[in-house]
C-alpha cells in the first residue's frame, strides 16, 4: 500500500519539475523578445535626436555640407525600410551610425562648435544613446544565450522538445559592416 504513496510522490515531484522547467523556458523566451524590442527603443531615440543635432551644427557657417547631408540622407533611408525587414533595417541603422561617427570626427575641426553648450549637451546625449544601443544589443545577446542554454542543455532540453520551443535564437553580430571588422590602417 505504501508503495502507492511513493509512486504518487515521485509523480508529483516530476510534475513540479516539469512545471518549473516549462515556466523557466517561457520566461527565457519572453526575455529574448523583450530585449529585442529594447534595441528598437534605443534606435528610435537616436533617430529622434538627429534633427536637433543637425540644426545646431547647421548654424555654424562653413560647416561641411556633405557630412551633414550624409547624416540626413542616412536617416531618411532608415525611415524608408519596410516594417519587418530586419536585415535591411540593421544595414540602414549601421550606415546611420557610421554617418554620425564621421560627423563627430569633422566637428573636431570647429573649436567654437565644440565649446557651444547646446552642442556639448547633444554630444553627451548622442554618446549616451550610442552606448545604450550597444548595451541593449549586449543584453539581447545575453538573453539569447540564456535561452539557448536552456533549450539545449540536459534536462531542460527534454521539456523544450516536448513543447516545441525553438532550438536556437540567432545572436546579433557585432557589426554588419565588413569594413569595420578590419583593423584600421595607420600610416604616418
Amino acid at each position: 500500500m505504501w508503495i502507492l504513496w511513493v509512486v504518487l510522490a515521485i509523480v508529483v515531484i516530476f510534475l513540479l519539475w516539469l512545471w518549473g522547467s516549462y515556466n523557466g523556458l517561457v520566461q527565457a523566451r519572453l526575455q529574448v523578445k523583450n530585449s529585442w524590442s529594447q534595441i528598437d527603443v534605443q534606435l528610435k531615440r537616436r533617430f529622434d535626436l538627429i534633427p536637433n543635432l543637425v540644426e545646431t551644427v547647421k548654424g555654424y557657417k562653413n560647416f561641411e555640407r556633405d557630412t551633414l547631408e550624409a547624416v540626413t540622407k542616412a536617416r531618411t533611408a532608415v525611415q524608408q525600410v519596410p516594417e519587418g525587414n530586419i536585415a535591411d533595417r540593421a544595414k540602414a541603422e549601421g550606415e546611420l551610425g557610421a554617418a554620425l561617427g564621421r560627423l563627430m570626427v569633422v566637428v573636431e575641426r570647429y573649436p567654437e562648435l565644440k565649446a557651444n553648450q547646446n552642442f556639448l549637451a547633444l554630444q553627451e546625449e548622442l554618446t549616451g544613446t550610442e552606448n545604450r544601443i550597444s548595451f541593449s544589443r549586449q543584453a539581447y545577446n545575453d538573453s539569447v544565450q540564456g535561452y539557448n542554454v536552456k533549450t539545449q542543455t540536459f534536462p531542460s532540453n527534454i521539456v523544450a522538445n516536448m513543447f516545441n520551443f525553438k532550438k536556437e535564437e540567432p545572436f546579433l553580430q557585432a557589426t554588419e559592416n565588413e569594413a569595420e571588422r578590419k583593423a584600421p590602417k595607420v600610416s604616418f
Binding site: G24, Q31, N34, S35, Q38, Q42, A121, E124, E125, T127, G128, N131, R132, F135, S136, Q138, A139, N141, D142, S143, Q145, G146, V149
Partner: protein
C-alpha cells in the same frame, strides 16, 4: 542565476530568523531582569521585531537614504550620471531605472538600496562623482546595480535595521536593568515567592552578558554574508560592463583615499561599496570587516583575462585566494551567460587630460549649488555667478568684470 538567487533567498530567511531569535532571547532575559516576566519581554521583543521588519521592508530604503543625507536628482541635473545609470539598467535588463541620489560629501563612496528590483535606488557621493572618469563610474554603478539584481539590497537593508534594533535594545535594556536592579529590591511584591537575591542576580548577569555579546554575534553573522555579496557584485559589474578594468581602477582610486564618510554609522556601513571605516593598517584577513580588502578585489578583477563571466570570476577568485572553493558554486556560475572579450593591455588607470578632470569637478559643483538652492546668473563676460539664497533679491557684482546683476 536562479539558483544563486534562490540560495540567497533561503540564506536571507535563515539569517533574519537567526537575528529574530537573538531579539527574542534578549527580550526574554531583559523581561526577566527588569520586570520579572520572561513572557512579557518576549512579547515586546516579537512585537518590536514585526513592526521593525515591516518598517524596514517598506521604508528601509528611505530611512537609510535620509540617514546618509542623500538627495534625489533628475536627468537634467547631471546627464552623465543619469546616462551611465540608464546604460547599466539596460545591460542588466532591469525593468525600471533605479532612483538616483547624490550625497554631499567629499569622501568617495556609493551604495544601493531598495526592497526589490522595481523600487531600487542608487546613491553616490559628490566626491566620487568628481574623481571618476566615465568608465570607472560605469564600473561602480554596475557594481551597485549588481547588488540590486542579485537581490542583496533587501537583505542588507532589513538586516541593518534589525541589527540596529538589537543594538538599541541591548543598550537601553541593559541600562534599565541596572537601574531597575538598584531600585528593584523594594518593588518585588510580597505576593511573589522571593527566591532571594541570588537567582535574580544571576539572571541579570546573564542578561547583561548577552546584551553585550548579542550585538557582536549578530554583526559577525551579518559580516560573513555581506563579504560574499561584495564579490558577487564585483563579478556582476564585470559582466555588465564587459570591462573589469573600469571597476578595478575605480577601486584603486577608492583605496587611495581614506576620507571618512560623514554620516555612516555601524549599521549602514555594509551598504557602501567600500568600507567607510576602513583603516589602511588593518590586516587583510580582517573578518570583522564588512567588505573584503580592496587590493584583493582589484587583483581578482585584473586576473580575469579574455572572458567575462561568473565562471571566470570564480576561477580568478580561486587563483588569487589560493582556495579550492570559489565564491559561488560552479553550477550557479555556469548558469549565467558570459561573454568573451579581449582584455585591455594596460594594467593601470587610464591617464586622462587635465581638462576632463576640471570639467567633471565643475559639473559636480554646479549640481551641488543647484541642490543647495543657489541661483545661477550668467554674466556677459562669460562668468557664471552662483548666488546663495540669502542674497536673493539684492544686487550682486560680477567679480571679474564688475557688472551689476539682480539676483
Amino acid at each position: 542565476m536562479w539558483e544563486q538567487i534562490r540560495s540567497n533567498r533561503t540564506r536571507s530567511i535563515i539569517l533574519v530568523a537567526l537575528m529574530g531569535a537573538f531579539l527574542v532571547g534578549i527580550g526574554w532575559l531583559l523581561g526577566v531582569g527588569i520586570a520579572d516576566s520572561g513572557t512579557g519581554g518576549v512579547v515586546v521583543a516579537i512585537l518590536l521585531f514585526i513592526i521593525l521588519s515591516l518598517l524596514a521592508y517598506f521604508q528601509g530604503d528611505s530611512i537609510l537614504l535620509s540617514v546618509a543625507g542623500a538627495r534625489k536628482i533628475k536627468r537634467e541635473d547631471h546627464p552623465r550620471l543619469y546616462n551611465v545609470v540608464e546604460e547599466m539598467k539596460i545591460a542588466a535588463s532591469l525593468p525600471t531605472i533605479p532612483d538616483i541620489y547624490i550625497i554631499d560629501d567629499p569622501s568617495l563612496n556609493a551604495f544601493a538600496t531598495g526592497r526589490d528590483i522595481n523600487h531600487a535606488s542608487v546613491a553616490i557621493t559628490s566626491g566620487l562623482l568628481e574623481k571618476l572618469n566615465r568608465d570607472e563610474l560605469q564600473g561602480v554603478i554596475a557594481h551597485e546595480i549588481g547588488h540590486i539584481k542579485n537581490r542583496d539590497v533587501l537583505l542588507m537593508a532589513m538586516c541593518s535595521v534589525l541589527l540596529g534594533t538589537i543594538v538599541i535594545l541591548s543598550f537601553y535594556g541593559s541600562r534599565l536593568m541596572i537601574f531597575g536592579g538598584m531600585s528593584g529590591g523594594s518593588r518585588r511584591s510580597g505576593s511573589r515567592d522571593n527566591r532571594g537575591g541570588g537567582g535574580a542576580a544571576i539572571i541579570v548577569v546573564i542578561a547583561l552578558l548577552l546584551a553585550i555579546l548579542a550585538p557582536i554575534f549578530a554583526q559577525l553573522i551579518y559580516l560573513a554574508v555581506s563579504r560574499r555579496r561584495e564579490y558577487l557584485a564585483d563579478a556582476s559589474s564585470a559582466l555588465y560592463t564587459r570591462n573589469p578594468e573600469g571597476l578595478a581602477s575605480a577601486l584603486e582610486k577608492l583605496a587611495a583615499s581614506t576620507a571618512p564618510v560623514k554620516n555612516a554609522n555601524q549599521a549602514t556601513a555594509p551598504m557602501y561599496i567600500v568600507n567607510p571605516f576602513r583603516n589602511r593598517n588593518a590586516s587583510p584577513t580582517d573578518w570583522t570587516s564588512t567588505h573584503p580588502p580592496i587590493q584583493e578585489r582589484i587583483r581578482i578583477l585584473r586576473a580575469m583575462a579574455g572572458n567575462v563571466s561568473y565562471t571566470t570570476y570564480n576561477e580568478a577568485y580561486k587563483t588569487v585566494k589560493h582556495s579550492s572553493g570559489g565564491v559561488m558554486s560552479s553550477q550557479a556560475a555556469a548558469s549565467v551567460p558570459g561573454a568573451a572579450f579581449v582584455a585591455g593591455t594596460q594594467q593601470g588607470p587610464v591617464e586622462e587630460p587635465a581638462t576632463a578632470k576640471v570639467d567633471r569637478a565643475r559639473e559636480v559643483s554646479n549640481l551641488m549649488y543647484k541642490l543647495d538652492d543657489y541661483s545661477i546668473i550668467d554674466c556677459e563676460c562669460g562668468t557664471r555667478l552662483k548666488v546663495p539664497p540669502a542674497l536673493r533679491g539684492q544686487t550682486v557684482r560680477c567679480p571679474h568684470c564688475g557688472r551689476r546683476h539682480q539676483a
